[in-house]
Every structure is written in C-alpha cells, then in structure tokens.
C-alpha cells in the first residue's frame, strides 16, 4: 500500500515510535524514513549523535531514543520532512507535536486548526502552541501543536480553517 499511495501503514508507523513510557518522559524524535535512499542530513544535523546512518548513506536512519533529547534540530534539516517530535510529558490527556510546515500564511500561536492524518484526512482539532521560523531553519518553519492523546499515532499534519486564512 505504502508504495502505491505514500501513506505508511499503522504497523510501519508504530515501528518508528518509541515506547509510550519514553514519550511520556519528554520530547523525542520520530523518524519516518522507510526507504533506502542516498541521504543523511539527519545524522549530520543531530548534535547528540542520536541518529545513526553509518558509512553507507543509503542506510535507513536509526534513532536512539535513550540519546535523543527531543531538541528538534533535525526536524527542519530533513529534506523529506519525515521527522517530527512527540512529547507526552505535558499532560495526561494531550500530546505535543512539533512538525515541519512549509506553507504560507503560517498559523499563529493559539489558533485552532484541523488535525490531519497521513492521508491528509481531517481527524481532530489541534491547537497551535508555538511557531518557530528562525534563519537557522532555512524556511522550513516548525509548528508546535497540542492534540488529544488518542490521536498520537494518527496525527501528522494540519490545515488552517478557511476563515482563518482570510
């Protein structure tokens, strides 16, 4: 299915998520990169050596959840926009996501947006907590969103409401 639609299956996604105990401890990167391609900026970008690809740049990146601090440096560096940060430490009912978002106009902190799954289907409401777009991110803004905890494995993107777009 994935190779026909670009939408990863639930099993594939689950494999890339660290255990829930780790997510509840604090922010951690989820690296959804499933195919051997010649690419390695995630490894180069990580200041803690938490992502390993190795000598052969075609290898699939492996993220060590014990080493990853959830700093988020890798998110804007990945040309595939395949990395996001999840954080379950803030509340028992919600999780925070940090995802790359390359569309204008950017949302504003506090804005309510529509949460989308990996096929772009609307699944939930989400609240924008923070919008980061410093020069170091090189025009790949990173948006922090708060989402109901039950959408942890489904949420992957968002859409602004038509009226909010003006």
């Amino acid at each position: 299915m994935f190779e026909q639609t670009g939408v990863a299956t639930r099993e594939m996604v689950m494999e890339k998520f660290p255990p829930i105990e780790r997510i509840n401890k604090g922010p951690v990167a989820v690296v959804e990169c499933y195919q051997k391609i010649p690419c390695n900026p995630c490894q180069t970008a990580c200041p803690f050596g938490a992502i390993q690809i190795g000598e052969d740049i075609n290898e699939i990146p492996r993220r060590d959840e014990a080493v990853c601090t959830g700093c988020g440096v890798c998110v804007a560096k990945c040309p595939g926009l395949s990395i996001m940060i999840v954080d379950g430490s803030k509340s028992p009912d919600t999780v925070e996501f940090r995802i790359p978002y390359e569309f204008l106009p950017l949302p504003a902190a506090g804005e309510r947006v529509v949460g989308l799954d990996r096929a772009g289907e609307p699944i939930c409401a989400a609240t924008v907590k923070k919008v980061m777009n410093p020069p170091a991110f090189d025009r790949t803004p990173v948006i922090t969103l708060e989402v109901e905890r039950k959408y942890l494995y489904e949420f992957r993107n968002f859409r602004r409401e038509a009226e909010a777009r003006g």
Partner: protein, 360 residues
Amino acid sequence: MRELELLIIGSGPAGLCAAISAAASGARVLILERSFAPGGQLIKQTHMFFGSERQYASHRGVDIAGILLKKLEEYGDRVELMCNATAVGFYEDNVVTVLKDEKEYFKIKAKSVICATGAYEKSLAFPNNDLPGIYGAGAVQTLMNVYGVKPGDRVLMVGAGNIGVIVSYQLLQAGVEVAAVLDAAPKIGAYLVHASKLARMGAPILCSHTVKEAIGTDCLEAAVVCRVDERFQPVPGTEQRFDVDVMCISVGLSPLNELLAMRGVEMKYVPQLSGSVPLRTENCETCIPGIYVAGDASGIEEASSAMAEGYLAGLCAAAALGHVPEDYEARRQEYLRQLEGLRSGPVGERIRAGMKLSAL
C-alpha cells in the same frame, strides 16, 4: 576565431562544478549557457536536496546554485561565464558555433570540451495533448519558481516520479489544488518521503492509472483518466473525469547531448540512463580524447551525482591539458568514491547497470 583551453557547455550543477574544478587546477575556462541565468535546473528547485554534506544536502537547490557561483568567483578572470549563448554546432576540428543574444553568431575553437547540457522532458501521446494548459512539469516549475506565475487553479499531475511529486508539492505551496497525481507504473517512482509529504496534504496518488484524453475547446477544461493493467493497457469502464485547468506531464527526462553525436562521439541507447548517451571512461571522457560529458547529459540522475561528475570531468580535463594538481589522484579517487556512494543503494541499481553498459 576565438581559441581557448577548455569550453564547458551548460552551467547547471555539472557545468559549474566542472568549471570550479578545472579552474582550481589552473585551467582557463569559458562556460556557455543558453539561458539568461546560470544554474540549470537548480534555479527552480525551492526544495531541500538529498545526498550528503559534500553535495550540499538539506540546502535548497536554488541556494546551491548561489554557493557554486560564489566559489567560481574565487578564480577571477580564469573563468568566463557567457549567458544567453547557445552552442548550436560542434564540428570535427573542435569548433563550436555559438548563437549569442539571438543575433550574434560566432565560432570558438577549444582544446578540450565538457558537455554538461542536461536533459529535456519527455512527452506523452493522448488525444488533445496540445491544448493550452497542458505543460511539462519542469515548465510549470519554472513558471512558478523562477517567474512567480501561478499556472492555474487545479492541476492533474501525470507521473509520480521525483519531479512529478516535488512539483505537485510546490504547486500546493503556490496555492494550486492538486486533484491527483497519476502514474501508469504499479508503484510510486519518487522517493517515498516526498510522496508521503504530498499524501498528508490530501493530494491522492493513483498508481496504475493513466490519462486517456484531455477535454476542452480553447484550453484545458477536464481530463479523463483510467486504470491500466499489468501490461499498461487501459481497463475499460474505469474512466474518471477530473475538472482541471492545468495538466502537468512528468513522465521522465532524456539526456540532451546531440552536440556530442554531431561531433562524432560514439553513442549508445541505454534505457537505464533514459536515452541515448555517449560511451565514456570512468573519468567522464568520451571516445574522442579531450571531449568529456557530465551530469544529466550522460544519463538521467541527480544534481548530487551531476556535481561529483562535474568535479571529476573538470579535474581530468584540466590534467590532460597539463594542469595537474599535486593531489590529482587523491581528488580523482574522492570523486569516484562519492559517485559510488550515491549509486550504491537500491535506487542506484538502474544507474549502476547503465554505467556498465555505457563504459568505454
């Protein structure tokens, strides 16, 4: 007639890197570029590139062009870049005829020539494929990202290779709705991270589908698509209509290298490299000594490999002209290693096969 050491035709990543490499060794270089600005495909690539740090991975293509041009400046008057200058003929005595600004026509004779002319987009035959609103995907990318022109409101993309998928994403960024991305193949050809990026924006990718016909009187109004079977034959009764005002054809590129064929370089049709390509040594030299090829002109690949090939061709061409740097062999080996690394994975399998078939 102007005579010179090294002529490079094309200023994409391959041509620019060839120039940097040759000038670093001490050669005097002239680059001809038919477009109004240097950079080739790079100037319309607003997305971040793959590869490793050495090929500026994670930089946007358009910024890589800037980095390379800046590097080139270091060599001052050893390098001349001539834009709006098309090489139109390449003759036995190494004379290249040039059309400049569409009015001046003159000859250049070079001791050595590197052909880095890139590629052209393939097209697709279907009824009404000449309606206004039907473009090559590369053309739409140029319109949007170089000229700032939005091509329409709703697009159907035909082809789910890297270009089709990336241009679809950029169409979304420009505020154009993507009705669907089709591909006749049973699997997505693009890197799947790119495909996922598009899928989660809600743009459906339909494999085993093709366009049956375009509909419209003065311009494109709709397209009929259908499913195809394993033998790429249309399956009757599976037709679907999409109301779109833009259709992009992105069914692949072919190497652009007629100049080399004209010069008498031995060519061969190699499907893995997407067309007719010159036979060449591992140093990118063709069967005629002093004539080199680099980048997409030698087989469709990527900017990352085009850069490595350009560096290699520039180094070797300059060395053959007597400009041999002290670290010649170390650098040669380094570029060969980079190319091997880029081509070593499963997606490089085709290229590896193509390289064997086109080796001298």
